[in-house]
Structure formats: structure tokens, C-alpha cells
Symmetry: C2
Subunit: 327 residues, 2 copies
DNA sequence: CGTTATGGGTAATACGTATTACGTTTTTCA
DNA sequence: TGAAAAACGTAATACGTATTACCCATAACG
């Protein structure tokens, strides 16, 4: 910057003003253009560290989320990065694998200095550090939030399956998770009770889904429809069912969540709920930047309702599926 | 830092020395411990901008890569981030969607100030900016590189299929890409010539694979084995073939690349080549950090050979698959 | 004509850290 | 005992930018 100042025969101050668009009424028009041209030709790039030090804006936001494994999560990562970049911000991702790694994920991001944070689920760190944050898929008083409305989606899934005649429902997904709770609510609303063995624990991978469905099918009776936590789990579950000799969807209906890019090409193609990652990413970015620009704003919670994508993994209730012996 | 200095009754200088482990012989043992304790209790975090400004080390590396869409790429992203974090660095990802977006991807990263760059393919920017870099899947004189050995993997794939009796080979993947070149080399080595229509263009998504296989099968003759650019493409291709009424692998054998987390649960499970993302990520990180620490080192190229994963998508050559009429 | 605005410009400073160059006192050791 | 080394410590400065507080000259205005 000093060099450009010397070449244009002005002070460093002048160059700073011009490059930040505050030259009006301070530096002559002609000189402004000269400076801009020189900066471009020598492709000058302001030193982000110095700028950040002086103005306490880093143009950087931390994104703290679970380790991405599926195409769906990959898409979210890229949407966040590109969306943030489009608004002049850099995304600093920090992934946690297990829940107790969260603290260090926060440390990595905070140690590097960020203007704000996008976080998956709430974590106590957020309260201690007083840093602008928006929380994804969780609501905490005092923080903005973006919530995929899984409750509504679960209701829609169960309504759909009920409409097809199903009454024997299974669930595969993380035990104790939010979606499992919604699943049970829907059972209750229909006057049904959870059947032990028809709910199987599975982290969000195809392998876990495979294992869970295998366990589920080991029982003497089985449900006619299984709701899966996400598409990754569902793909493993379908595989397990088919390998067990079941016809999907004729003998077993399945649904997923997310609308993973691959879920249209499983056999059969998966009926699922598009989480609308573009909307989610937009909502997260907008919520955070809005708060960065205007800190005093009242809390805001945005809800994005997953959109049903009906494909071929659900069929009308098929009586003989009641017991394995019937098949 | 000044505050800690005041509390410990030393100068800021002293605190700086102690916190950077250079207190020996300068600050009394007891005071060192006091300072460390105070820093911990008030959970002091050095200002990264100031530190970066002063010492011209940002502990930051830029990762410039194509937009991740599959689980495989998601894994790579997370491996790079966590691997870098484990060595004290922060990853700044910048994704490009189409090739001409590469420039701005570089700009985003360079504008934020990074110590080094991990880049997918070589790009002219790298030569202009004189910044330490390691290139993935491409070799450029003057730069370190990490190369997945797709040439060897392709040879192994074709040897395997040849061993099963196949001689009519198709290929689905980006036209003009490196892997297509290797595919043709392997054809030539066997005295075969490419059949127009048996090579179909497809970017790396299941949807593209589906479309490509659909086009391929529209011809009057079809290959008995199709090599796919990656698992995402292969999953779409399998789907297209099965929907067309072909039995996989009995009537059509397929292979993929990458060993995507989902590829073990397609129907049938995909025979593929594990790119060994852990090794790749390690190699990239190690290559770059080594150069950051010791700039004068000679160029280094690391090769990682994908490992065959034989599952069920390939079968012995089946004569009647020669023409669609036979089926 | 005196006053005020406007155009054009700079010097000085602060941001928070790491490092260099200096001190002073105490210990070691020949 | 005297000199050198070690222990303990600080003041000053530089990193590159943004901003404040100034300055002077000329134009506009009552």
C-alpha cells in the first residue's frame, strides 16, 4: 500500500481512503483513478490480518457441525461456503466426530477469530463466548435459530403411510433423538404404542442402517413400514431388507429424510423429504449476517419445512407382511 | 494480555515470552506458573490477527477444490479439516462449481491470507502468486504433488474384467478426462478399439450416470462390462441398467472408483477401488506443512494407489449379453 | 468583503502481538 | 577476589491498515 502511495504520489492515508471508496471530497478524481489502476495492475491485496487487527472485522464466520459423510451434508457444506463467499465472508469449518469433541471444534474456530458462528445444535460454549451466533436444528433462548421442521415432516410421512393402510410402524435412527420423539408422538396420535425391537438405533450411515434393519428383521414379527432417520440410513436399510428376501416396497415400505442426491437411484428409489438445503443455507447465512450488521435486533427463528418427494419405496399395506412365516 | 501482565505484575513482554514457552532464563519459575494459570482462568486467547500481522504466520491453509457432492468428497473435506486442525492449522475451503469459477475461488482464499494452498488440479494462479502449494491429482514442475494412481487402478480394473472373460468394454465418465485416457490405453494394450456409443460423457453425479447409461443402452449393441468414473456415476448407471431390465452383474458388469460410503449398499454392492482418502489427506497435509516449515526442500511427488474392493457388480462374461435381441 | 463550505490532502495514531536490544542483580567458578 | 555467566526483567518497536484530527486553498454566499 505504501508502494502504491509512492507511485501515485500521495500518502498511504490517501490510498486507504480511495481503496475503501471514501475518496469523495478528499482525493481528486483523476488521482483516484490512478490509484485504483495501480492497485489493480500490481494486484494489490490488503493484508487481512492488519485490516482485521485495526477494524476488528475479520469477515469470517465459523461453522461448527458434525463430520459430513453423505452427499446431503457435502452439499450443505458447499452451499454455506459459496453463499458466505458471495457476501464477502470466508467460512471456517470445524467438524466434530463425537459429541465430546465439540469443545475443541469451538476452540479451533474461536482461536482463529471469527465475526460470528453457525452452529449445529446448541452448546454451552456459545453462552460463555459472547459472539453472534445462529443455531441450526435447535432452539435456545437468546439465539437466532433455523429449524428444519422435522415435526411437520414426520407427521406428513406418517399420514402418508397411514393413508396407504399401514399401522405397524418401525423407526431406524439415533436413539433418543428428536426425530424418534416425533415418531413416537405420531404413534400416540394414532393410538398406537411403540413396539420394542421395531425401533432400532443407528447413527446416520448406510452401514448403521444396514445393521439396524438386520436387527429389526431378526424379530418374529416385523412392521410393514419403517421410517428412517435419513437417506443414508434408509439406503442401508433397504439393502438389508432386500437381502433378507423382502420385496421393497411390496412387503416393506420405507421412507428417508434429506433427499440425498443418491436417493433417487436406490432400488427402489426412495420416498423421502427434501430438506431444501439451499433454503437452509440461505436462512443460516442471512440470519447471522443480519445480526452482525445490526446487533440489537430481536431474536428470530426461521422454520423450513421439508418437502415430500414421493418415489417408489412405499406401497399400500400388504397383509401377509405381518409375520415372517407368511412370506 | 496487558490485563494478565498487570495482574501478574510483569510487563506484556514477559507474558508474551511465557505464553510462547520462551520464558526459560527470563522469568522466574513461580511467575511463569502464575501467568499460565491466570491465562487459563481468564481463558485468554491470543488475537490471531495481531499475531498474524506481527509474525507473518497465519496458521491457515487454503483448500481449493471442486464442489463436493458425494459422500466420498465429504469425507475428504472432513479429513483435511481435522488433519490440519490436529497440526494447528485452520482449513479455508473454497469450492468451484465450473472451471471458470476457479479464479474467484483462489481470490477468496488469497484475499484472506493463507500460509499455503492445497489445490485440485493445477491452475495458472499458482504460478503467479508465489505461495507454497501442493497439487492434488495433477503434476506441475515446481510444485509438490499427490497423485492417486488411477492409471494403475484402471489397469487392475481392466485386468480383473478381462480375467472374467470380458472383451466388450464401455466407459462412463467426463469426456476427455484422465481416466478416459487410461481406459483407452488399456483397450489398446488388449488390441481393442473404442466403440463409439460405448463411451458416454457424464459429470460425477448419479443423475449423470443414469443419463449416460440410458444413452449407452439405447444403441443396438452393448458392452458386457462398463467402467465408471466413480461410484456416484456407477450408482446411477446400475439403476439405469436394472430399470432397463438387465440383470447386474449377470448381464452387465460395472465398476466404480472411490469406494464411496454408500457403494457397499447399492444393489448389487459395487466393485470399486478405494482411493484411500485417509492416506490422500495425510499426504496432502504432510507435503504442504513440510514445505511451510522448510521452504528449500526439493520437489516431492507422492503416489497413492487405490485399493481394489471386490463386491458383487462384476460377473463372468455372459455370451447372450452381446446384443439386446438375445436378452 | 468577511464568512463558510468544499475540494484536496497529510501526519499521527491505535489495533495486539513478537522480538530485539537493553538493562540489573545474583550466582558460579577459576 | 574478580570476572564472567546466568537469572530476571523491561522499554521500544514493527507488522499494515483504518481513522481521526488536522491543514491549506479556493469557491460560494450573504
Amino acid at each position: 500500500m505504501e508502494e502504491i502511495a509512492a507511485m501515485a504520489k500521495v500518502s498511504q492515508t490517501g490510498v486507504s481512503f480511495v481503496l475503501n471508496g471514501k475518496g469523495a471530497g478528499r482525493i481528486a478524481k483523476a488521482k483516484q483513478e490512478l490509484i485504483l489502476r495501480l492497485a489493480r495492475e500490481h494486484n494489490y491485496r490488503p493484508n487481512a490480518a492488519a485490516r482485521g487487527l485495526r477494524s476488528r472485522k475479520r469477515y469470517t464466520v465459523g461453522v461448527i457441525m458434525p463430520t459430513p459423510r453423505s452427499g446431503f451434508y457435502a452439499g450443505l457444506v458447499s452451499l454455506l461456503q459459496t453463499g458466505l463467499a458471495a457476501r464477502g465472508y470466508m467460512a471456517l469449518f470445524s467438524f466434530w466426530l463425537v459429541r465430546d469433541g465439540i469443545k475443541s471444534a469451538y476452540d479451533a474456530v474461536l482461536g482463529h477469530g471469527v465475526d460470528g458462528i453457525i452452529a449445529w445444535d446448541y452448546h454451552a460454549c456459545l453462552a460463555n463466548e459472547k459472539i453472534p451466533a445462529v443455531i441450526f436444528a435447535d432452539k435456545q433462548p437468546g439465539f437466532d435459530a433455523v429449524l428444519p421442521d422435522f415435526e411437520a415432516a414426520m407427521a406428513e410421512a406418517m399420514d402418508y403411510l397411514s393413508g396407504l393402510g399401514h399401522r405397524d410402524f418401525g423407526y431406524i435412527g439415533p436413539a433418543g433423538g428428536e426425530r424418534q420423539r416425533f415418531f413416537r408422538n405420531e404413534l400416540r396420535r394414532r393410538g398406537l404404542t411403540p413396539v420394542p425391537g421395531w425401533e432400532q438405533d443407528a447413527a446416520g450411515s448406510p452401514a448403521a442402517g444396514f445393521a439396524a434393519m438386520t436387527r429389526l428383521l431378526a424379530g418374529s414379527r416385523r412392521p410393514s413400514a419403517v421410517v428412517c432417520h435419513n437417506d443414508a440410513v434408509a439406503s442401508g436399510a433397504i439393502f438389508a431388507a432386500v437381502r433378507r428376501g423382502l420385496r421393497v416396497p411390496e412387503e416393506l415400505s420405507l421412507t428417508g429424510f434429506d433427499n440425498d442426491p443418491g436417493s433417487a437411484y436406490t432400488l427402489p428409489p426412495l420416498t423421502t423429504f427434501d430438506a431444501q438445503p439451499e433454503l437452509l443455507a440461505d436462512a443460516l447465512i442471512d440470519s447471522l449476517l443480519r445480526r452482525l450488521e445490526e446487533p440489537g435486533l430481536p431474536e428470530r427463528t426461521l422454520r423450513v419445512c421439508p418437502k415430500a418427494v414421493r418415489r417408489e419405496s412405499c406401497a399400500a399395506y400388504f397383509p401377509s407382511s405381518q409375520t415372517l412365516e407368511d412370506v
